[in-house]
């Protein structure tokens, strides 16, 4: 077994008297899609905030590609290639697709004999077009304004934004929550596509069908404790739901 891409070991975190996470382990392999599920308040977001450096754990250790790491801010986690895709917060609707993808890391060219650095609109449009094509995202042109796109296309641009810059891990928090059925399928295709580009994904979702469609493995949190971590083929929705709610565990029926 090769060294996993991400290994979080015995992570604990309390907020005052509230024990948000207790000795939680998380493993993410290369090119794997991990489903992270649990009820509201189970600790999913806290765990991801620790992985992205928004919060620091009270105890426990994170390893990235086998090396112990410490993320003091989202800047640190981004530097090693861990990107979080925020639901509705990620894009500026008044800017075009290319501008959004390159926001905060614009390409520039020296002009007037090196006197000024001006934006290289052409290079950004081309780079964005290549990236969209590589990820098989269907958008007519990288110069379309984001506000004219559908919800699914926006989600795709947000993902492209994070993947485009050498992300090795993409964390997606409820990427399909606000989408029409037709668009959900496209976002799920996109997640599957990321595997081919050697990007690992952690998918947080309340929609069990989505989780079962794309995830290789499913990890369940309940009240800050890891209560399940199973490959998808060895489980079923009823079992996962039982783990989430803490009900009596049901046995999965094999369906031929």
């Amino acid at each position: 077994m090769p060294e996993p891409l991400v290994r979080m070991e015995k992570i604990s975190k309390s907020f005052g008297p509230v024990r948000a996470l207790q000795n939680v382990d998380l493993i993410l392999h290369h090119s794997e899609v991990l489903g992270l599920v649990g009820d509201n308040g189970a600790g999913k977001s806290t765990l991801m905030k620790i992985l992205t450096g928004v919060h620091q754990p009270d105890s426990g250790q994170i390893y990235f590609q086998g090396q112990p790491v410490r993320f003091n801010s989202p800047h640190d986690s981004r530097a090693v290639g861990i990107e979080m895709v925020y639901q509705d917060l990620a894009l500026a609707g008044n800017l075009n697709v290319a501008d959004n993808i390159y926001l905060g890391r614009e390409l520039t060219r020296k002009r007037l004999g090196g006197l000024v650095r001006l934006l290289d609109h052409k290079a950004m449009a081309e780079g964005a077009a290549r990236l969209l094509e590589r990820l098989k995202i269907e958008i007519h042109s990288p110069t379309l304004r984001v506000e004219t796109l559908s919800g699914g296309q926006r989600q795709a641009v947000a993902v492209a934004r994070s993947v485009g810059f050498e992300a090795k891990v993409v964390i997606m928090d409820e990427p399909t929550a606000a989408l029409a059925v037709k668009e959900v399928a496209k976002v799920l295709d996109l997640i599957r596509g990321l595997k081919e580009h050697d990007v690992a994904v952690i998918l947080i979702s309340h929609r069990m069908p989505d989780i079962f469609e794309v995830c290789d493995r499913i990890m369940v949190l309940r009240q800050g404790v890891k209560v399940g971590d199973v490959p998808r083929e060895q489980t079923c929705m009823d079992e996962i739901v039982a783990l989430i709610t803490g009900a009596q565990q049901e046995v999965c029926m094999e369906v031929a």
Partner: protein
């Protein structure tokens, strides 16, 4: 020009929708129609070089505070202080000129080595005095802008409206305190030239030539500079991004507070340059400039020019057209002997119409 880089808003397959055409060319179209109407109504005077020069001269300082206001409105903010900061900078400019001149003249009269120094009234001494005064005026604009920015980003006042409303009153009061309520008249040529100078093209022994006000050239130069800044630099892109979605811009690693401080500082400094043009035009510093409510003209020009109060939308060119529309309406109604009070009514109607067009555009865009 900027359209080639910001790209069509709708898919090429569908072609340009009415909304798209309105959004891109609506303001320019309105300007052309307005000019046509005024040409027809006042055929013997409106389109003459004299009248156009006159309009260019009159709109120059409003054009500059409008440009600053535009930058602020792009970030979904508002700067109510541009008019009074212009007035305060103007007073600081005139006061500095007089103070420095008197100080130097007094020192020159008593100094023993006076023989080797330029006389107070010499071009060199006046030039240095002018330069220092301009720097002091720009510094005043910078400081007012910085404080405006801090009120929002550091003090965390709920909306820039409040901080800049406070600054409006502070600058008005300060302008009156420093000038003791009356104009400070008489400025060096080096300062007057910006507001009152002309470049004359094509003068021959028989024709008078075309007068182009230097103030208008300053305006065009600054508008061009800010067009490049907004559409072709990182910081310019970030200003649009902050207006579109401040949260996303923050997550993208952009220092949003720095951007916000910057737009208020630029607005303050543009107000100071406007003060410089104003000073040259009337050859004095008058506290009245701080009290005339020019900030409202600036806001009106920006809105007429197609910028959105919600931020992130609008162009430098649109703002200039907004300024021109305001200028031509005032000028045209003057030519037609329409009372000033009716002019105010007309401008009010146009502001409301421009904002309503923005509402229609947003509504149509949602239905796309």
């Amino acid at each position: 020009m900027s359209e080639s880089t910001t790209a069509p808003a709708y898919t090429p397959a569908r072609g340009l929708s009415v909304v798209g055409i309105l959004e891109r060319f609506g303001v320019a179209l309105a300007l052309v129609v307005l000019m046509l109407v005024l040409t027809i109504l006042s055929p013997e005077y409106f389109l003459t070089p004299d009248n156009l020069t006159n309009v260019a001269n009159r709109i120059a300082f409003v054009a500059l505070i409008s440009l600053g206001e535009f930058l602020v409105i792009l970030t979904a903010g508002i700067d109510l202080s541009v008019g009074s900061v212009m007035g305060l900078s103007l007073i600081m400019l005139a006061k500095s000129c007089h103070f420095l001149y008197e100080w130097y003249a007094g020192w020159y009269a008593t100094a023993s080595m006076a023989a080797s120094l330029p006389e107070p009234a010499s071009p060199l001494a006046l030039g240095i005095i002018s330069l220092l005064s301009i720097l002091i005026a720009l510094g005043t604009g910078y400081l007012c802008g910085l404080l405006n920015g801090w009120g929002f980003t550091k003090l965390g006042l709920p909306h820039p409206f409040i901080m800049t409303l406070g600054m409006l009153n502070i600058a008005r009061g300060a302008a009156n305190l420093i000038s003791r309520g009356s104009p400070i008249t008489g400025l060096p040529r080096a300062i007057r030239v910006f507001g009152a100078g002309n470049i004359i093209l094509g003068r021959t022994s028989t024709t008078a030539g075309l007068r182009i006000p230097i103030a208008f050239i300053v305006v065009l130069a600054l508008y061009f500079l800010f067009w490049v800044f907004l559409t072709h630099t990182k910081t310019g892109r970030h200003i649009y991004a902050v207006g579109g979605n401040p949260q996303a811009t923050l997550y993208a690693g952009v220092n949003v507070k720095r951007i916000l401080n910057l737009v208020y500082i630029l607005s303050g400094m543009l107000a100071a340059v406007a003060g410089l043009l104003y000073a040259g035009r009337i050859n004095s510093g008058t506290p009245k400039a701080a009290m005339a409510g020019y900030e409202l003209d600036a806001i009106a020009s920006v809105i007429i020019g197609g910028a959105s109060f919600f931020g992130g939308r609008g162009t430098v060119v649109g703002t200039l057209i907004g300024v021109l529309i305001m200028g031509f309406i005032r000028n045209g109604l003057n030519l037609l002997n329409v009372s000033v009070f009716w002019q105010e009514v007309a401008i009010g109607v146009i502001i409301i119409s421009a904002a309503f067009i923005d509402v229609l555009r947003r509504r149509a865009a949602r239905q796309e």
